[in-house]
């Protein structure tokens, strides 16, 4: 493999590099700059003060965590057993994966719009629950916290499942056979062989799922109560930018959002690296 970057190779790399710098790094730095300046361009911390000192704004952090952490935990906790179960393939696998991919492809907007009717007071789910006498009167699933949480599960579970499935089916099946031959029970094989090897995959999956849930926007607007209990941080940033046209405060909120996401991503990655060293001693040879 050739080493170093010759002039030709640098030229080939240039368009992609320029693109990422101009449309990803530069906007981020521009936002950072705006967040520390006022409309006149002089440096100030007022934008962050506006966000952190106003309880109506700063509580969006907790509101968002209160939605995104449970959603992520549910998604990952459901995805792991199902992915382990399906790791060697099974009959009807294509159908199952097709139905998992559909909500992912359709996106939050269509799923939220469908959920408004389906989960509504006269929707099919409430009719079914009443028909089998699980509930007496219609349950309120939409325009509240539950609606947003459900939409995050409908969207996030398939994502987590397919990701962990891709990871777990790559684990060498001989390891499992070896563990069984050595007399390990099913549970021991899972906890001592499979799970430790899956930890890096689960960690990345948790990260990505959390970050997606933390930036929830369309479903919090459509299925939640954007004027209160589900006013998540993305809604706050959007309102400052496109309703109040204060790009400085909007940038500050975007930066807060980015920092929280980066903290979670790096925390999980550090934890993963620690676990992974342990796991590699047990499994991979």
């Amino acid at each position: 493999m050739p080493r170093g970057l010759g002039g030709g190779r640098l030229l080939l790399l240039f368009p992609a590099l320029a693109f990422v710098l101009l449309l990803f790094v530069y906007p981020f730095l521009y936002g950072l700059f705006l967040s520390f300046t006022n409309a006149a361009g002089s440096p100030t911390l007022a934008n962050y003060a506006r966000f952190f000192l106003d309880p109506w704004e700063s509580r969006t952090i907790w509101v968002t965590l209160w939605i995104s952490v449970p959603a992520t935990l549910v998604n990952v906790a459901l995805a792991v057993p199902f992915a382990v179960f399906m790791r060697h393939g099974m009959r009807g696998e294509k159908i199952v994966t097709f139905f998992l991919i559909v909500p992912l492809t359709l996106g939050t907007v269509l799923v939220s719009e469908g959920m408004l009717t389906y989960l509504g007071p006269n929707g099919w789910l409430n009719q079914l629950l009443q028909a089998i006498h699980m509930v007496g009167k219609p349950v309120r699933f939409t325009h509240n916290y539950t609606g947003v949480l459900l939409s995050l599960v409908i969207q996030g579970f398939p994502f987590a499942f397919l990701m962990i499935l891709g990871y777990v089916s790559g684990i060498n099946p001989d390891l499992e056979k070896a563990s069984q031959m050595l007399g390990a029970s099913w549970l021991q094989t899972f906890t001592r062989v499979l799970f430790p090897l899956m930890v890096p995959g689960i960690a990345i999956c948790f990260c990505l799922n959390f970050v997606m849930a933390f930036s929830v926007f369309p479903s919090a607007m459509l299925l939640g109560e954007p004027s209160g209990p589900t006013r998540v941080i993305a809604i706050a940033a959007w309102q400052w930018a496109f309703e109040k046209f204060d790009f400085n405060v909007a940038s500050a909120i975007s930066m807060v959002m980015a920092v929280i996401e980066l903290i979670v991503i790096s925390a999980v990655l550090v934890w993963r690296n620690r676990m992974y060293r342990g796991a590699s001693m047990v499994g991979k040879g």
Binding site: Y30, I101, G114, S215, F242
Partner: protein
Amino acid sequence: MTQRKLTPGSVLFVLAMVVYVGNVLGILFTVILNSASKGWYSGVLPRHLTGEWYAYVATDHNIANLLFVTFLVAIVVVAVAILIAFPAAYVLSRSEFRGKGALLSLFLLPMIVPPMTYGIPLAMVLYKFHLAARVVGVILANLVPIVPFVILILMPFIEQVGANLESAAQMLGARRWTIFRRVLVPLTLPGILTAGILSIVKTISMFELTYLVAGARSQTIVVALYADAYAAGARPPQAVDALAVIYFLTTMVCLIVALRFVSPTQMVFKIK
């Protein structure tokens, strides 16, 4: 592989999948039925079926323009993304250099960071340069997650083409351009196709970035659908669902075409 029997685990698995698939189907079918119903206030099925909501949507929105912008954006994004990403993927999979890991992480970031986080600063930059509220701005914004995505999909495909094939072509007197055209492109065509199809599906369903930078005449179907759904009460819910069905059909056609070529696990983030 051992024979599978009916274990409690498999029963639970099938049951959970039935619940999940049942709910997804329920969500989709209520949208479809509601868009063609009249006076469906209670009961399992609507009493009357009608096509009037589609006529309503056709007068309410410029459907032709919505579809035109949606596909124009998707196709231009894919074409430009492949042109930018292919050379970069080639260098990243063929050479070792200092800072390669850092560069890969830089390309990975726009895929990991959710669009809603970088979308607002990006929209501000595009507004500053008067690119927003135009189709050009929508294309530029959508390219941000797609270019890294195409790079990551193409890299393993390029790695599979042995470097010695290129050396052989070179020894036989082929120039660089000929090698690219006659060796590299034909052998990586499956990768280019995979990346292209997945990017089209992703771009059509990309809501956040398009929403943040689009204007009235540069919005895609999914943005129009969100605006209608958000302004509930401005128009009948059945009409919103009719637009949802139009969007649903557009996306499903692309998805079914895509699934003929790629496996579903390729549609989510790949863990290395």
